[in-house]
Symmetry: C2
C-alpha cells in the first residue's frame, strides 16, 4: 500500500528510503525529511567518468559534488548509508542521449564499470528559507519546484556540453536579500542564485512553460529567483549522447542522512 | 643572468612566468606577485586520474581543485594562460613512489596520456593577512613556509592514501580569530585552519624539524596555526607508488594571472 504524503513527512531519511525501496513511495521528495540534504544522482560508465568529473569541476554551480563511488559499487556511505539502485523514488535511463526507461529501480541496468556521482540539490536549503520566513511557494502549494533550460552554456569537458538548467522560486522583493544570503551558505547545494529578475535575460520565454517540475505559483510583488539546478547533467546527456547515463527523475531525489546545516560553509 | 628577489617582486604574473620559463628564476614563489592566486601542480597518467579526482573530492581541504586539463594538453587557460611544462620554477618527478628527478622543465617527461590538476595554495591568502595586519613571519624573514606531515590520515580513493600535510604560520594569540576569518574566505586556497595550537595533537613532534620548506620563526605569544597543504599529494604519491606523478617543488608554485579576491567565497 502506498504511503500518503502526511505519512512520508513523518519519516526519518533512512526509514523513508526503506519505504521507497519497498515501492511504497514513488513521488517527489520536496518538503520531505525537512532540514536534511537531498541529492541528484548521475551514473556513467568509467570511461566517461573523468570527463564528467571535469565537467562538474568547471561548472560548480549546477554540479556541486557531494560523493563519488568507486567503479562498480552502487552504494554511498558519506551523505547517507544508501543503496543507489532502489532508494530513489524514480529513475531515468538515457542511452545515446535518448530517454529509454523511467524505472523504480536501476538494478537491471547496473554494470561493474559504472561510477555514481551525487550532486547537491536546492531542495536542501528550502527548510532554511522556511525557518527564516521566506515563503517557498511550491512547497505551500504541494507542487514540485519549476525547472527551466536556460540559454547559458555550461563550460564543456570532453564530450559533455549543454545549457544550464535552473530552478525558480518566486520571492517577495523585500525578501530577495534574505534568500540570497541564506542560500549562499549552502554552496554544496548550488549556493546563491545565478540570476534574479527577468527570465528573458537567461533565455526563458514563458515561466508557465516548465521543462521539468510544475508551473510556478507567483504572488503579486514576487520576483523570480533562479538557482543552478542538478538536472543540468540530464540536459547535457541529451545533447552529448553518452552511451549510458542514469539519473533520478527530476524532483525525485536521494534523501540523505546528514542534515543541511552539517554542510554549511565555514 | 638570474633575477634578484627585488626584481622578481616587481613583475606581473605573466612576465614572472616568462622569466621562469627562460630559466631566470628557480627560487620559491612566496611573496611574489602579491594578491594573486598561486597553485600546486599534480600530473598523473589518465588511468589514475579518476581515482585522484575522487581523492581530491574526498579531501577538499588539502586538495581544492582550481583547474583540470584535457588528457595530453599541458596548458591551462582559466587561472592563468600558462604552459605547465616550464613556467614553474622547479618540478619533482616521482616514479613508483621514488623521487627520481627535480628538473626545471618537465617537457622531456610529458606524454599524451597525462592529465594535470592545479590545486589551490595557501600562499594565495598571505597578502590578505598582511593587508589585515596579521604578521606572516616567514615572509618577513624571507623564508619558505614550514610544512609538516601530520598523523591525520586522508580519506582514500582507489590507490591513493596517505597522511595530511600542513603548512604552519605562527600568529599572535589576539590575531588568531582574524587569521581564521580571513583565510575562511578562501576555500579554494585551503580555507580556514585545520588545527590551532599544540602540534603534538596532530602528530608533529618538533616544529623545528620540517618536512618541506624552512624552519619557522616564532615570536613570544605566537600560536601555531595549521592549514591543509597542497603538498599532500606528494606524500600520498610516495605511499601509493603510482607509476608516474609529477609535481612542483614545494614552495615553488605556479603563479596565476587571476587575483585572489576574484575567487573569494560568495
Amino acid at each position: 500500500m502506498m504511503l500518503r504524503y502526511e505519512e512520508a513527512l513523518r519519516l526519518e531519511p533512512a526509514r523513508l528510503r526503506g519505504e521507497i525501496a519497498r515501492g511504497r513511495w514513488h513521488g517527489p521528495t520536496g518538503g520531505l525529511a525537512p532540514g536534511h540534504v537531498q541529492a541528484n544522482l548521475v551514473v556513467l560508465p568509467e570511461h566517461l567518468a573523468l570527463s564528467f568529473f571535469t565537467f562538474c569541476q568547471r561548472n560548480p554551480k549546477p554540479c556541486p559534488i557531494l560523493e563519488v563511488t568507486e567503479p562498480g559499487r552502487p552504494h554511498v556511505t558519506d551523505v547517507a548509508e544508501a543503496d543507489l539502485l532502489r532508494e530513489i523514488p524514480r529513475y531515468r535511463v538515457y542511452r545515446d542521449g535518448d530517454l529509454v526507461d523511467e524505472p523504480l529501480s536501476i538494478e537491471p541496468h547496473w554494470r561493474e564499470d559504472l561510477v555514481a556521482f551525487l550532486l547537491g540539490c536546492s531542495l536542501t536549503f528550502e527548510d532554511a528559507l522556511v525557518r527564516a520566513s521566506v515563503p517557498v511557494r511550491h512547497l505551500e502549494a504541494n507542487r514540485t519546484v519549476p525547472m527551466y533550460e536556460t540559454r547559458i552554456p555550461c563550460r564543456k569537458a570532453g564530450p559533455f556540453r549543454g545549457n544550464l538548467v535552473v530552478s525558480m522560486r518566486p520571492v517577495p522583493g523585500h525578501l530577495v536579500s534574505k534568500a540570497v544570503l541564506i542560500t549562499s551558505r549552502f554552496p554544496f547545494a548550488h549556493g546563491s542564485p545565478v540570476h534574479v529578475g527577468d527570465p528573458a535575460e537567461i533565455g526563458i520565454e514563458d515561466l508557465e512553460v516548465v521543462r521539468f517540475g510544475d508551473p510556478p505559483v507567483m504572488e503579486p510583488g514576487d520576483v523570480p529567483v533562479f538557482h543552478a539546478c542538478g538536472v543540468t547533467p540530464q540536459v547535457v546527456a541529451m545533447q552529448s549522447r553518452p552511451e549510458l547515463l542514469m539519473s533520478h527523475e527530476p524532483g525525485h531525489m536521494l534523501v540523505c542522512d546528514i542534515e543541511s546545516r552539517a554542510l554549511e560553509a565555514l
